[in-house]
Symmetry: C2
Subunit: 110 residues, 2 copies
């Protein structure tokens, strides 16, 4: 069968732009570990989960990436054995103008 027909591809749910929820986004960013992930994505660009050196276990990190993904803050694209994480800045800015910007400023440098 054609590669694109493969239903076994690791596909994760990402909310569409118009389904982003403000309280879900605020809640996602109210955790220090998740806020750190977002800051690192801003300063270092898209990168896989394993390259963040987070101060939590692998399974806990997986949980935090999922919360960020399901709130629409990040995108997770399968790439070989890993997932490339990137900020959904366009979608966030479209739904909540200035929000991410002000939070990043308030969070201060890395």
């Amino acid at each position: 069968m054609h590669p694109c027909d493969n239903a076994n591809m690791r596909v994760l749910h990402h909310p569409s732009r118009r389904n982003l929820d403000l309280t879900a986004v605020l809640h996602a960013l109210s955790d220090p570990v998740r806020l750190l992930i977002v800051q690192r994505l801003v300063s270092e660009g898209a990168k896989p989960c394993g390259t963040f050196g987070l101060p939590v276990a692998k399974s806990t990190a997986s949980h935090h990436f999922r919360v960020l993904r399901e709130s629409g803050i990040i995108r997770m694209q399968p790439e070989g054995t890993q997932y490339i994480n990137s900020l959904r800045r366009d979608d966030l800015d479209a739904c909540f103008p200035g929000l991410l910007e002000s939070i990043l400023m308030a969070a201060g440098p890395l």
Copy 2:
């Protein structure tokens, strides 16, 4: 004794401006009831707890006002038998420029 020396006045703890914590503020605003309280304070000005008509029990409302107060988002001033709630907009804008503004915009009209 002088009225101002009275230690029995209902005094509540309010964090100072320089002790405001971003994650605490985001967490406080990530609850729909608390976000509603803040929206109402913006559109209707300072007012007592009992005038919000919140969809929760009195004790639950008290809890939400406390979370808002302890995160530095609102001020609660004793006034007779009630507390006058007001937004600490100056302090919020000083610590987190643009944050409240963007959240209020994203939250939409009342």
